[in-house]
């Protein structure tokens, strides 16, 4: 945590405080019932009270989301590389990768549970399925956007397919890839939560999805919001980690990371 990282944290924190103040004020002024939209103070209170459940839930869900995200990152890039190998392959298969994204998880949950058992494994797979496509789509665009003259240069020097991939295409696709990963980071959390709705409950470690479901049923809106916020924090942490890594890797050469 050096100085500039700290300084970078100031604007979002200021925004957060402003947001919370507005929210609290609006809820109080308009007398919105607490079970509909609880004020941040109430969410904070229930969050403190249920801190251990929320923390445990965040850890359980976070673990699944992390596995799902990791799988998406690795397999997404691999699939994109495969699709980029020829226009023919891309045309034939790219549309079907979209299938994964348009399948409601609930519809394939039985299969997931049957194949991976109920609990974290199936949840991680759900997270993976939900977050895969953005990685594929962005990496593919990135691979396709490589400056053709640089490609020529590699061809001229007899670069093998793998070297071209490794030393030209992937570095050139990095800015796109990181955008994909940023999107995937948020989706992996939602994928894990939705997965937990259906498949997730291993003894002793109820994830945030289970908390959300239960709190919803019980109309404990404050706890519901606290759990949702915990999920968002999870997403933000992943997102932040991805963004920082990206900024660090791209800083010296890509305009999108300049001035960060």
């Amino acid at each position: 945590m050096n100085r500039s990282t700290l300084r970078a944290a100031v604007p979002p924190l200021v925004a957060l405080v402003v947001l919370l103040a507005l929210w609290e004020g609006a809820v109080r002024l308009l007398e919105v019932p607490r079970w509909l939209v609880p004020p941040p103070s109430a969410i904070g209170a229930v969050g403190a009270h249920e801190a251990s459940a929320l923390l445990g839930g965040a850890i359980t869900t976070g673990r699944s989301a992390l596995v799902g995200f990791g799988l998406s990152a690795v397999l997404g890039v691999l699939v994109a590389v495969l699709l980029a190998s020829s226009r023919m392959v891309e045309r034939a298969l790219y549309p079907y990768t979209l299938f994964l994204q348009t399948v409601p998880i609930v519809a394939i949950a039985p299969l997931l549970v049957l194949w991976f058992g109920p609990g974290p494994r199936a949840v991680a797979v759900s997270s993976f399925i939900v977050s895969l496509f953005p990685v594929i789509a962005n990496t593919l665009t990135g691979l396709r956007s490589v400056d053709p003259s640089l490609r020529d240069m590699f061809r001229l020097y007899g670069a093998r397919r793998l070297a071209t991939l490794w030393k030209l295409e992937l570095p050139a696709a990095m800015p796109h890839l990181f955008t994909g990963l940023r999107i995937a980071s948020g989706l992996s959390v939602i994928g894990a939560i939705v997965g937990e709705f259906v498949a997730g409950f291993a003894e002793g470690s109820a994830g945030l999805g289970i908390l959300v479901l239960g709190a919803y049923r019980q109309l404990r809106t404050d706890l519901l919001f606290a759990a949702v916020l915990a999920a968002s924090v999870l997403g933000l942490v992943l997102f932040g980690a991805v963004s920082l890594t990206g900024a660090r890797l791209l800083r010296r050469w890509h305009p999108s990371a300049q001035g960060t």
């Binding site: 061809r155 001229l156 020097y157 007899g158 890509h254």
Partner: protein, 250 residues
Amino acid sequence: MKVEGLRRTFPGNISVLAGLDLDVAPGSFVALLGPSGCGKSTLLRLVAGLDRAEAGHVTFTPTLERTPGERAPIAYVFQDAHLLPWRSVLDNAALPLELTGVPKAERQAAARAVLEQVGLGDATERYPAELSGGMRMRASLARALVTHPRLLLLDEPFAALDELTRGRLDDQLRALWRKLGMTVLFVTHSISEAAYLAERAVVLSRRPARVVLDRTLELPTERTAALRTEAAFAREARLLNEALEQGEHW
């Protein structure tokens, strides 16, 4: 190297090469001149195998297949620098060696040496975005020279350089050629540079490019700055200039 009946037409019916023939003996140094947009870069790309002609072909004797242990048979200095923005100057210059599997220490030493030659010894750790235009072209030149190629294609490598640097690099290039004896195809817009460097000059006409003049220069092998003021040099330059003007009006 033998170019036979090369034809290349771009979409929109833009005929750039309409049956070009050119015969280049191994180890010769050929300067290629011609008006802007006539097809010089296109020809170089075809020779390098980076583009496909509709008709005709380029053959090499002896063949230009990479022999085991060789760094790279062909090197190309593109008209734009085409550096990898995510690599330092050193790593850019070392790239062709990296691609042929030369160990790290060795290739970095080689790259450093050639960067020193082009006057970038103190910028090895900078990134392309941090270089001036001329420095980028020199880095690109270093990347080509590092491979000790058998065929060296240069597309206006020195256009962005001041005359002193240019003169120095001219001399180095010629020295390198005499030492290694590779075939050089050198595109330039500078008549005096062409006359100073090359053994033979080919002047192309406007698009579609045809050979207006193909002349073996009658100049000594040993060339120094003094040559530029000699009568023989002036004569060659005048001949080239005339051919260029002629090609303009074809």
